[in-house]
């Protein structure tokens, strides 16, 4: 690890002052410290956000507000979230391990970097994310874990977050505060597609902090579930995951939400499935038909083609599970 300066922010303004001078924000450190140790990331200075008052989880009107420094354990164990946003509680509980969840924050989780092995190992020459313009070793290498949606000729790395999938399905917004003021952006506007600049991953200004994530409450979120498929039952990243919400009324689908993880370069909202469901009967055949649209537009490489069918089946499985739960009808 390269030497770096360490600054503890006592308040938001001192954090921003450090950021303006080129420091990197440190929350739980489970992504950043890891990558500093691997020398994939470099930082002249770190500013520790740990003392900032961004950890509360509360309901305000129809919105669930989760402070950016709330840990994944805080979120998984929160009774309000378990009840009002089961897919989010399940997604964070399926993330990492208990000891990582105790440190990992939701703000850092959204900005965590990809698990692409070529990115994480500086021994590989080619990685556009790590070394702009150097090429992409995954394109003609091991792409089994890589994305099939939102990919470009410059990068096919999958976004690794579970929580972001649930947040994307249910229209969460991220509250940002910088010197220029405060603003809210959708997850889709926070996280960038790789395009031809895969090293640019988000739209945060250098001195902006995530202060909270806000999730609109409602029936479809309350009737939601998250399912994660992976190579082992626990402590592994998703091959495919799905956050799904379904509200059925008088046999017809009133509301549907579907987003996928493990398959996109960003958390992937499957609008085509939602459109195919809403207003139609919630029968096994109509649900199965709609789920066929889960990976519309997918572009597979050499080893990750299985994710296309796995995505459809995962969505189908969770939709049927939700439809069958009579308690929710």
């Amino acid at each position: 690890m390269q030497p770096f300066a360490f600054v503890r922010a006592d308040d938001e303004e001192s954090a921003r002052a450090a950021l303006r001078q080129g420091a990197r924000a440190l929350a739980g450190g489970t992504s950043l410290v890891d990558l500093l140790r691997l020398q994939v990331e470099q930082a002249p200075a770190l500013v520790d956000l740990g003392k900032l008052p961004f950890r509360s989880i509360e309901q305000a009107g129809g919105v669930l507000r989760i402070g950016a420094l709330a840990t994944l354990s805080d979120i998984a164990g929160n009774p309000l979230i378990q009840h009002a946003a089961p897919s989010l509680a399940q997604a964070v509980l399926a993330s990492a391990s208990p000891q990582l969840r105790n440190a990992a924050t939701i703000g850092g989780n959204l900005l965590q970097r990809t698990r692409c092995a070529y990115f994480r190992d500086t021994g590989f020459e080619r990685c556009n994310k790590r070394k702009p313009g150097s090429g992409c070793a995954a394109l003609d290498g091991d792409d089994r874990g890589h994305a099939v949606l939102g990919v470009s000729d410059h990068c096919i790395a999958a976004h690794a977050s579970d929580a972001a999938v649930a947040l994307t399905a249910f229209d969460a917004t991220v509250r940002l505060r910088g010197t220029a003021g405060e603003r809210s952006v959708a997850i889709a506007d926070l996280l960038r597609l790789p395009g031809d600049t895969p090293w640019l991953e988000h739209t945060l200004a250098p001195d902006e902090l995530i202060v909270a994530v806000e999730l609109p409450l409602g029936d479809v979120l309350r009737r939601s579930a998250y399912r994660k498929l992976r190579d082992r039952a626990s402590y592994a990243f998703a091959l495919v995951s799905a956050a799904v919400g379904l509200v059925i009324e008088d046999g017809l689908v009133r509301e549907a939400r579907v987003a996928l993880g493990g398959v996109g370069t960003v958390p992937w909202r499957a609008h085509a499935v939602e459109d195919a469901l809403v207003g139609r009967p919630a029968t096994q055949s109509s649900v199965s038909q709609a789920a066929q649209r889960a990976a519309d537009g997918a572009v597979a490489g050499t080893q990750n083609g299985f994710k296309v069918e796995l995505a459809r089946r995962t969505v189908r499985r969770v939709l049927l599970q939700l439809a069958e739960d009579t308690a929710w009808k």
């Binding site: 440190l26 450190g29 208990p98 990582l100």
Partner: protein, 104 residues
């Protein structure tokens, strides 16, 4: 290690972030010469071979019991999944934790 009672990875924690926090490592688990019950259970159940992962297993196991997750073997396996043992002592680790939790 346990930070304010919560299990956390020492390899990803910067010491400078721990001012005013209570840190428990394997060195602080025994009371004098008196081993912690889970340490003794690891010996009794032969829950280690090379010993490399053992400090982490024991601290994580203490927290797992404390969190109320050591209810049965499946739950222990799930809530201990963040601690890898390359010697494969898992069955004995699970047994040691369950015994200490008083479930066996």
């Amino acid at each position: 290690m346990l930070i304010d009672g919560k299990r956390t990875l020492s390899c990803l924690t910067l010491l400078a972030t721990l001012e005013d926090k209570h840190v428990l490592t394997i060195e602080g688990v025994a009371t004098g010469d008196q081993l912690h019950p889970l340490q003794q259970a690891f010996i009794d159940h032969d829950a280690l071979q090379c010993g490399y992962c053992t400090p982490g297993q024991i601290l994580s196991g203490i927290a797992c019991i404390e969190e109320g997750r050591a209810t049965d073997a499946a739950s222990v396996r799930d809530w201990m999944s963040g601690n890898l043992c390359r010697c494969g002592a898992y069955p004995n680790i699970v047994a040691a934790i369950l015994e200490t939790a008083g479930k066996q």
